[in-house]
Amino acid sequence: MPYLGSEDVVKELKKALCNPHIQADRLRYRNVIQRVIRYMTQGLDMSGVFMEMVKASATVDIVQKKLVYLYMCTYAPLKPDLALLAINTLCKDCSDPNPMVRGLALRSMCSLRMPGVQEYIQQPILNGLRDKASYVRRVAVLGCAKMHNLHGDSEVDGALVNELYSLLRDQDPIVVVNCLRSLEEILKQEGGVVINKPIAHHLLNRMSKLDQWGQAEVLNFLLRYQPRSEEELFDILNLLDSFLKSSSPGVVMGATKLFLILAKMFPHVQTDVLVRVKGPLLAACSSESRELCFVALCHVRQILHSLPGHFSSHYKKFFCSYSEPHYIKLQKVEVLCELVNDENVQQVLEELRGYCTDVSADFAQAAIFAIGAEKREQRGDKKSLGDCCQVSPTKILHCRCAATKRVPHIWLPCGIARTYTDQCVQILTELLGLRQEHITTVVVQTFRDLVWLCPQCTEAVCQALPGCEENIQDSEGKQALIWLLGVHGERIPNAPYVLEDFVENVKSETFPAVKMELLTALLRLFLSRPAECQDMLGRLLYYCIEEEKDMAVRDRGLFYYRLLLVGIDEVKRILCSPKSDPTLGLLEDPAERPVNSWASDFNTLVPVYGKAHWATISKCQGAERCDPELPKTSSFAASGPLIPEENKERVQELPDSGALMLVPNRQLTADYFEKTWLSLKVAHQQVLPWRGEFHPDTLQMALQVVNIQTIAMSRAGSRPWKAYLSAQDDTGCLFLTELLLEPGNSEMQISVKQNEARTETLNSFISVLETVIGTIEEIKS
């Protein structure tokens, strides 16, 4: 179709719409209207024929009416004064004998989205609520929510709300569900629709009559209901049990979430629920619809964080198929890594090895990283391998010496390579033999990280390294190789010669980061093998100081030069940092995350994005966004909805002890925590009596209620048991805490560090902590 200036088109259409001959011929008339809509759809501004379109709404042809109303809804905000003219026709249609017309008119009227329309729609909506046709009632019920939105934040119309509550008993299932949706919207400010016992039971009884959307919706609303007794709770669970078998994945997920939340006090019920959804989840994971498969995989990973090995016997279901899209393969690889155990390690590694030589370089690299059991949160800015990567609050702390200046990574707790180091190193070594650039570079990076975490594999890695340099071109790979040569150069015979090549070509090296790494590595190697390195170190330093353009590299060169002038002992003292990190001992085995820590996020976008990614998204969404999932009245419940009822009151009083106000949701990163922890002195140390076993989850939840965040925690029952906590008060003062249970000792040792020395807040903080720990102690005994 030749492009016509929209003005000409409007003029022509206007003429056609006004033409009495066309108006008389219904077919032609409707064709003209269709053309208007077509142009509108294509994005042309058709608001010029508004008047003529309003006139066209006076017709008996229902399709024409629909088109005209669609047009009006689109352009009403642009032409509010003209749209008012249409109200008359709409009002008339609202009392049409045909319920379809009534519904259509009411729906359109409520969707006009222009100021001043409220006063006209109020009466038709009220009439609609009492209409005998359920089709109209459905529209009217949602119309109430639309009207409320148009009003802005005006007060809630009590009568209307009551009417809606009574309509929850309507015959028509969709009316019932729409009532819930509408009330939720209207009562947003008050915390949403109230689900009391009669309503909850009414909804439960209607469940089987609802369609899948309704069922999913009701399951979501029922999350809000707190059964009065254990008996009632189990009655509900029994009643809803069959919905775990629904053919709609949305309903299955909704039911699972409801079960997890309802059974939050009964860990064995939760576990049982997770066992029962295994089947449906696995089915969804091999579902033909990729998006659902993806969502299911994300949730499987979520479950695995709490129940490692939950899907281990089904590992084969997570083998990738040739034609699957990338995002599914990546998720599957992640899952595979997390469910490795002694029985299946051979098969899983075999399968993963196949992926490492995949034709897609991205996927191959992801598989190699997976074998190395390492997941990069950030590769550069853009190349995050999976935005769905989960970062647990108990992620492993790790810190490298300043001299190693590594990109911050986050180690994932899965760690095939940690447990099955030999097999992994062997596979990785074999991959080097392929002499493919994209593989070699990733393998070397994985080696670097492995050596750091599992020093026992150093020997094998050093043997595999020679020859790699020929197949590495990219900056990341070069850095990794140079780092390895520098740190473990004394075990690699040709290390100086490889580095020499890099020094020779340093002029043409484009990445400053590589040059920095080279400087450090060469200086380190010089310390262990001075004779071979002295000459080229001199050359490199000369180049960096005299010729290098990049200031950072030059400064580094100058720094090392001056350091060397101070004397070789000083250089050794500063540069010879540990070559691996055995201190990771405590935290390398992160506590399994309790089910309750993610149950409230289940079946939302959070597991699909990954918690870390979600956090960044919601951060950028800003504070003004009132989270619709968390009703305001339950702000307390939102911060810790998982705390047993009876403890709630007790802990709730805690923040009043002293003038201390801890800021909620101040989650520090593990890196930051560790840095701060190391830089501070212990401000307070004390010992509390502690007997027997307890559940770290309970402690973590209780702490969360008083806004103390858990950074990391050992597994339940391990000795020594440690936990690291952080909190911040409203003045910005940080409290960092270590809890320590020594084996065989019946006391808990508490060490608190503070970034500003203020005794009174410190004292109130400690008393809060004491109370929480005391409470937990009481509960368990």
Binding site: T41, G43, N98, L292, T604, Y609, P628
Partner: protein, 423 residues
């Protein structure tokens, strides 16, 4: 679940149709969708969920269209995707094929449907059979009379209209089992599962009550008939019409069916069965000169059964030329656009073994890019046979008018995702 708006975009990301349901996300946000998608694709980090600022895009692709739902809430992802699939399903039933052309040609109906499918971001009437009762294709015929509200829109049983009448009351039951198989290059079976569905075609008058009896092991154990041959069904899922509570209590499958075609139930069995058609292959590649392929196919099912329409697709290098084939049965065809040889065998009796040899030339100049190793795929259909041994024991049909109705049963086993990796 709440979607703010739904978009149908063409392959370049230009909106063909959009419907703003809630008005809380600016419609112009969709402009960010395509650039974001392209960017993520380049990074190798594409996912069916993208976000731009406050807006989340949940999308799926169907032929040359993108269906995108926008939302600013922490929505329920699986429900939004289900809604998008449902939309596609409804459109497909209306237009046979859903693609750019059909959207353009039918935009009036598309608007009408979008209007009924969702209101204010919440799914409303999504059953295409019910929609078809009041949104008709022949919108061109000028009916000035009253378009009446179909009874189902107001019914308590939302999936069936009242007053349906047939001269002959019949039910057709299709028991279809798909076999998914994944075999490693070394011949070990990595994955083998059966996905079964029971589909019904219902031509029954009135509001009939149906009861289906299967040789379900749990039921047999309940009733003490454990000696009979039975099947242990796992992960059973039912259509909405089935009374789940009754199934839970006494394993009875009872329901009032929708009219026409629908899927009554699905189940899954992970019991290991011998792969029905076993393939052994040798693909020898002599660089710069030729590729030689030998494929042996063996029917590992009962001699009385016959697999129909067997198609074995074997991958060949993309630069292969001058194909030559020799088959002991059936015919082989080279399909260069998919880089496969397809060996078709019309009927393949159980217990038989067939052979195909193929020979391709390779150019003397090797091409640069590395190729993947696509698997060998097999398609087949075995009628009158179910791998699991599931049987329909009875189908009771009770209607208050007391008519006699006939149930017909048909069993089929077919290939699902049936892949054998090549080395």
């Amino acid at each position: 679940m709440s979607a703010s708006a739904v978009f149908i975009l063409d392959v370049k990301g230009k909106p063909l149709i959009s419907r703003n349901y809630k008005g809380d996300v600016a419609m112009s946000k969709i402009e960010h969708f395509m650039p974001l998608l392209v960017q993520r694709e380049e990074e190798g980090a594409l996912a069916p969920l993208l976000s731009h600022g406050q807006v989340h895009f949940l999308w799926t692709k169907h032929s040359n269209l993108y269906l995108v739902a926008t939302t600013s809430k922490n929505a329920n992802a699986s429900l939004v995707y289900s809604f998008l699939y449902k939309t596609i399903e409804v459109f497909c039933e209306y237009f046979k094929e859903l693609e750019e052309e059909s959207i353009r040609d039918n935009f009036v109906i598309v608007y009408e449907l979008l209007d009924e499918l969702m209101d204010f971001g919440f799914p409303q009437t999504t059953d295409s059979k019910i929609l078809q009762e009041y949104i008709t294709q022949q919108s061109n015929k000028l009916e000035t009379g009253k378009s009446r509200v179909p009874p189902t829109v107001t019914n308590a049983v939302s999936w069936r209209s009242e007053g349906i009448k047939y001269k002959k009351n019949e039910v057709f039951i299709d028991v279809i089992e798909s076999v998914n198989l994944l075999v490693n290059a070394n011949g070990s079976v990595l994955l083998s599962e059966i996905v079964g569905t029971i589909k019904l075609k219902v031509f029954l008058s009135g509001m009939p009550e149906l009861r289906l009896g299967l040789n379900d092991r749990v039921l047999f154990e309940l009733t003490g008939r454990s000696k009979n041959k039975s099947v242990e069904l796992e992960d059973v899922k039912f259509h909405q019409c089935v009374r789940l509570s009754r199934f839970d209590n006494d394993r009875t499958i009872s329901f009032i069916p929708p009219d026409g075609d629908f899927e009554l139930m699905s189940y899954r069995l992970s019991t290991q069965v011998k792969p029905l058609i076993w393939i052994e292959s040798v693909i020898e590649k002599f660089s710069h000169s030729r590729v030689e392929i030998t494929v042996k196919a063996k029917g590992q099912f009962k001699k009385q059964s016959v697999a129909n329409g067997v198609e074995i697709s074997v991958p060949v290098p993309s630069d292969a030329d001058s194909p030559r084939f020799k088959t002991s049965v059936g015919s082989a065809k080279y399909v260069p656009e998919r880089n496969v040889v397809i060996w078709s065998i019309k009927s393949f009796p159980g217990g038989k073994e067939y052979l195909m040899r193929a020979h391709f030339g390779l150019p003397s100049v090797e091409k640069e890019e590395v190729e993947g190793r696509p698997p060998i795929g097999v398609k087949f259909e075995i009628p009158y046979f179910t791998v699991s041994g599931i049987q329909v024991r009875y189908m009771k049909i009770i209607e208050k008018s007391g008519y006699q109705a006939l149930p017909w049963v048909r069993y089929i086993t077919q290939s699902g995702d049936y892949q054998l990796r090549t080395s």
